[in-house]
């Protein structure tokens, strides 16, 4: 379900086709509901070792993240810090991961490549960037920790099931048409890089 509150676009789980198809690369959104963490080892286990995930990801979000979690005095867990990790490390596995798990919204850091963009187009998924280094704000968005699977992978690599409230800003980096914002930006940066190399080299000549 998508709503606009105080000018913010907020999407709640379970995500529908119309929620996701309405998003365009560059849009800023926030999400409410169920997310699951999974990074390198979860992808390796699910894709390379072809083991079924203990958590159902359909209609939920996957977050590339390795949180810091502390055992609380009542025997439960307390989220201390959570933020996204570099999504590109999962590029090798993400197409198969999306196909296998049915996950449709992925939260991470930085760009993903053409295979993930192809999966987004084919399976109607999106990749979003959560600004990284903001792990305390991230933790403040976690309402509840309601599951821990594959604990043997360690704190950072395990599958944590979380309920989030107003997690964001999330910037849509790949939309369901497969448009990849970072790929476009990188072309701009590279073009400007060439201009700047020339410019700086000219300036250097005057002092060296």
């Amino acid at each position: 379900m998508t709503e606009t509150i105080n000018g913010k676009t907020i999407i709640s789980t379970p995500f529908t086709d119309s929620d996701l198809n309405a998003l365009h690369a560059g849009d800023v959104i926030f999400i409410n509901g169920d997310i699951v963490t999974g990074r390198d080892d979860v992808h390796i286990r699910a894709v390379r070792e072809n083991i079924d995930l203990p958590a159902d990801l359909r209609g939920k979000a996957l977050m590339h993240a390795g949180p810091i979690v502390r055992r609380s005095s009542d025997g439960g867990y307390e989220m201390i810090s959570i933020g996204p990790t570099t999504s590109m490390r999962m590029e090798k596995f993400e197409y198969d991961f999306i196909e296998k798990t049915g996950v449709r919204l992925i939260i991470g850091k930085g760009c993903m490549g053409s295979r993930t963009a192809e999966a987004c187009r084919k399976f109607g998924a999106v990749h979003c960037v959560l600004p990284a280094g903001n792990a305390v704000v991230g933790a403040a968005c976690i309402e509840e920790i309601n599951g821990l699977d594959w604990q043997d992978l360690g704190m950072a690599e395990a599958l944590w099931s979380l309920r989030v409230k107003c997690l964001g800003p999330l910037i849509v980096s790949i939309d369901t048409s497969g448009r990849n914002l970072f790929e476009e930006k990188k072309k701009e940066y590279n073009a400007r890089k060439e201009e700047q190399i020339e410019e700086i080299s000219k300036k250097l000549e005057t002092i060296l």
Binding site: P131, V136, V137, K185
Partner: protein, 301 residues
């Protein structure tokens, strides 16, 4: 105080200081981020800066690490030749990292290579990494701390260029790396550039450059001018916060240099993310201390 008591005291102070630097960014970084936000007008970039400042506020208020990747500890020690704990410093810093890992808490990031086992303590073979400089005729000790995150360590690169490639070759080497890897390393970045003889000297200097304050300059006038040119040029690439576009790309560019062989031009690049967790603490011989990066840090004083 016995030697053991002194070691324990310094370990406790260092553990608390390391913890403090994960919670609070250095004053120079915060003030540069303020300047960059004030100059920004892109709405998505502004929403990212807003989140960053909310995180800085909340991390201090709750005493929690500002980023979940609390990095691997690297220290630069400028130790007076007559500092009483010179021989114990390595032991003290290792114990302090272990203690900070438990108490802050820090995320265990240290994986023993080949055995591929996480030590759980952020220490292990060669960790924490320490670079030494002995200062003659001084009885104090200055320790610069840095917690190197994975995402911003990844772009690090060094090579030896042909001298004929010249400083223009250095510019291309740095900008290529930033265009390719910068957007993923959590910009605005601090860029450390080392220019020297071989890969190892250039790489070491590029890290030393990150230990210098944001806004400081190389004492050599030409190197200092090149710092400003690189800063201006990389900002004009418009990478913006998180690599999604914006007015600035960097917190700054620091260059450290040394001699080169007539036949070589070594260049190294190290990057740090906007969560630049650098601290500097200076001890006197009786373990009094002051910090110029974190005005608010106190410990039993």
């Amino acid at each position: 105080m016995t030697l053991e008591d002194k070691c324990n005291k310094m370990t406790d102070i260092m553990a608390a200081f390391i913890g403090h630097t994960t919670v609070r960014l250095p004053d120079d970084v915060i003030s540069r981020l303020n300047e960059l936000r004030a100059a920004e007008d892109d709405p998505a970039a502004l929403s990212i800066y807003d989140m960053m400042f909310e995180n800085i506020r909340l991390a201090s208020e709750l005493g929690r690490p500002s980023c979940q990747d609390t990095g691997l500890a690297q220290f630069r020690i400028d130790c007076g030749s007559s500092f009483p704990l010179l021989a114990q410093l390595e032991e003290i810093l290792t114990a302090a990292v272990k203690k900070a890992t438990e108490e802050t808490p820090l995320r265990p990031n240290a994986v023993e290579t080949f055995d591929e086992i996480n030590t759980g303590t952020n220490t292990g073979t060669g960790a924490p990494s320490i670079s030494w400089n002995i200062v003659p005729s001084w009885d104090g000790c200055a320790i610069t701390t840095y917690l190197a995150g994975g995402g911003c360590s990844l772009p690090g690169h060094a090579a030896v260029l042909m001298p004929g490639e010249g400083y223009e070759g250095v510019v291309r080497f740095v900008l290529d790396r930033i265009a390719e890897y910068g957007p993923n390393a959590c910009p605005p970045l601090l860029v450390g550039v080392g220019i020297a003889n071989s890969v190892d000297t250039a790489a070491q200097l590029s890290k030393k450059a990150l230990f210098r304050p944001v806004g400081s300059h190389n004492p050599n006038e030409k190197a200092s001018a090149m710092e400003s040119m690189l800063e201006d040029g990389i900002n004009k690439m418009g990478i913006g916060p998180q690599g999604l576009g914006g007015k600035a790309s960097v917190l700054g560019v620091n260059i450290e240099n040394a001699v080169r062989h007539t036949a070589t031009l070594g260049v190294g690049v190290s990057l740090s993310c906007w969560t630049h967790r650098r601290g500097k603490i200076v001890f006197s011989k009786d373990l009094g201390f002051n910090t110029d990066t974190h005005a608010g840090f106190t410990y039993g004083q």
